[in-house]
């Protein structure tokens, strides 16, 4: 396979169902979950892969964290064999602690705070691209539903911010991965944040509980939808929709087809 494809395969950790299902070159990845089947583990996995990207150039990542403090991600990823503290020190990981975002001035408009946040992210991406790092950069948001709370419900402002982040993906060889809680929006009328995200996504990964209820060996099912973007180098095995079961462990996750678990 061509060298670029090799790099991509290495980047995504070839060998498990999730990486097979995820077409290479997806720029906007939307991860959906619900209370019964949380999917933060998918973000952890993608973050580990983003930072582990080989091929000399190395990858980089910016994590916009509203859900958890740094110590949480650090401990979780450490159990998965990825040292976030080290990556943060070497500036391959840029951690934005947004637990208190926007914070400070109560009078300032959320649009301004989001604009400032975007500028900071853009600077980080530009700096990384300017260096010898020709590898893929990943901007990750955990999670968009909390960003909407931070924006006091102004979905328009959040969407503007997300659209700006999407422009980064086309201009800067960068991908955007966002987590959103699907069950918050499924009861709403009208076009909300979720519908917009699904529209702009290249790839949608959705976690759901099993219809049969709880099981000790299976935590839920994952569906991966490749939304028909042109995949330059790697044919996605002709398959648009993948569906399989998962089990989350401290050091990662297992993906398997129903009934094939031993």
């Amino acid at each position: 396979p061509p060298p670029q494809l090799e790099a991509e395969m290495e980047e995504y950790g070839a060998g498990d169902l999730l990486s097979e299902a995820m077409c290479a070159g997806a720029r906007v990845v939307v991860v959906e979950d619900c209370v019964e089947a949380p999917a933060a583990f998918v973000l952890h996995l993608l973050l580990k892969r983003a930072l582990a990207a080989g091929g000399g150039g190395g990858g980089g990542a910016a994590l916009l964290a509203l859900a958890q403090p740094f110590s949480h991600y650090d401990r979780v990823l450490r159990k998965m064999g990825c040292n976030l503290s080290m990556h943060r020190k070497s500036e391959r990981l840029h951690f934005f602690d947004l637990q208190g975002f926007p914070g400070g001035t109560q009078g300032g408009a959320i649009a301004d705070s989001l604009a400032q946040l975007y500028s900071a992210v853009q600077r980080v991406v530009e700096t990384c691209r300017a260096g010898e790092n020709a590898g893929r950069f990943t901007v990750m948001i955990d999670d968009v539903s909390l960003l909407e709370v931070a924006a006091n419900g102004s979905a328009d402002d959040v969407l503007d911010f997300l659209h700006y982040c999407v422009t980064l993906t086309s201009e800067m060889n960068c991908s955007l991965v966002v987590l959103i809680h699907e069950d918050i929006y499924s009861s709403e009328d009208g076009v909300g944040l979720l519908a917009h995200l699904r529209y702009i996504a290249d790839l949608v990964i959705k976690a759901a509980p099993l219809s049969t209820g709880l099981a000790t060996d299976v935590h839920g099912q994952l569906s991966v939808v490749n939304k028909g973007m042109l995949i330059e180098q790697r044919p996605a095995k002709g398959q648009k929709v993948w569906s399989f079961h998962f089990k989350v462990k401290e050091n990662g996750a297992d993906f398997f087809y129903p009934g094939s678990r031993h």
Partner: protein, 348 residues
């Protein structure tokens, strides 16, 4: 949940234990000595805090059975949310046990409720059942002295209920004679907590009724939590925040959905970096589905309460002790420290 006594074992269960080598009654069923996990073997500090793996620290919910189901208790630094049953006040049982447990361990408490005089609720806090436990122990010792423990055979049944197994672990806690040394207590809802304990405490009360913003509650919570910042190797003094019916219609800010969810988000962040636990009950039926989901996602530990109807013949056939039960407690998710593995507890 049973009226009258919270998580009280029947006397015969208390007798059928193996504390200090006193095994009463003979039976073909013999329970392997419960293996002590790291958390249960470390004796609780005087402040009622128990350490667990992964740097976790727990305080008791005030209901020993619930602590066991949650694998230790309420995690310090977490937010517990309880979905109320709209027809019944059973969530108050949880709150009373939680607050009483904190008072017994001299842990500072911040209590907010949609009532004119939240401080009056303190009169409803239950007293620990230390005295009745003493009786049970004496009965047990008396039975052992008889040699064959014939009296306790009446307590043995072929179909063991899980509660009787829990009795083993509970009585190992009873080795600590001093009330304060115990991590968790049983509370007798028929007896109020002694007045002098309440007066000696750091208990702050705040009314959320007719208050049209959450700013005050947020500021008070922030001030409270700043006194319980987590320090490396520091003295583990725990704090408790109890908020009753946060989105109740009589709250002045009712209907300001984004303000409420914003408050929850900031409270969660403040609690995370502290040595405190916050428990928040809420009548979820007054929220829209969408916001109810937002609240559920914000919870670290999520419980819900469902009242059991009286005179339900089908349930009576299904459940032993149906007459004593007032409700179901459903555990949806349980707080974890620094882990991505979901809890497979989900039980009712």
């Amino acid at each position: 949940l049973s009226p009258g006594r919270v998580a009280a074992p029947p006397p015969m269960a208390a007798a059928a234990t193996g504390t200090g080598g006193q095994t009463l009654g003979r039976s073909s069923f013999s329970r392997a000595a419960s293996s002590k996990t790291a958390s249960s073997s470390s004796s609780p500090t005087a402040s009622g805090v128990k350490l667990g793996p992964n740097g976790a620290a727990f305080v008791s919910s005030g209901i020993p059975d619930l602590d066991r189901i949650l694998d230790g208790g309420f995690l310090l630094g977490s937010v517990v949310m309880v979905m109320e049953d709209s027809d019944a006040p059973h969530h108050l049982l949880l709150l009373r046990a939680f607050m009483a447990q904190g008072v017994v361990h001299k842990q500072p408490l911040l209590f907010a409720a949609p009532m004119k005089e939240p401080r009056s609720f303190l009169g409803a806090l239950p007293a620990p059942v230390a005295s009745s436990k003493e009786d049970a122990r004496q009965r047990a010792m008396g039975g052992g002295a008889a040699g064959d423990g014939r009296a306790s055979d009446e307590g043995l049944r072929i179909a063991w209920q899980y509660r009787k197994y829990f009795g083993d672990e509970r009585n190992s806690n009873a080795e600590h004679r001093d009330n304060k040394q115990e991590f968790s207590h049983d509370f007798d809802l028929r007896k109020p907590l002694e007045r002098h304990l309440l007066n000696a405490q750091h208990i702050e009360c705040l009314s959320t009724q007719d208050v049209d913003t959450l700013h005050d509650l947020q500021n008070r919570s922030s001030a409270f939590l700043s006194k319980h910042q987590r320090k490396e190797g520091g003295n583990l003094s725990a704090g408790r925040i109890a908020i009753q019916s946060l989105c109740a219609p009589q709250c002045g800010y009712f209907g300001k959905d984004w303000d409420m969810v914003s408050f929850l988000r900031s409270l969660k962040a403040m609690v995370r970096s502290s040595n405190a636990v916050a428990i928040i009950t809420f009548p979820y039926t007054v929220l829209s589905d969408s916001f109810c989901k937002r609240w559920q996602h914000l919870a670290d530990t999520l419980l819900s309460i469902k009242a059991i109807p009286d005179e339900d013949k089908d349930l009576a056939k299904l459940l032993t002790g149906y007459q004593d039960m007032v409700g179901f407690l459903h555990v949806h998710k349980v707080a974890q420290t620094n882990s991505q593995v979901p809890t497979q507890v989900n039980m009712t």
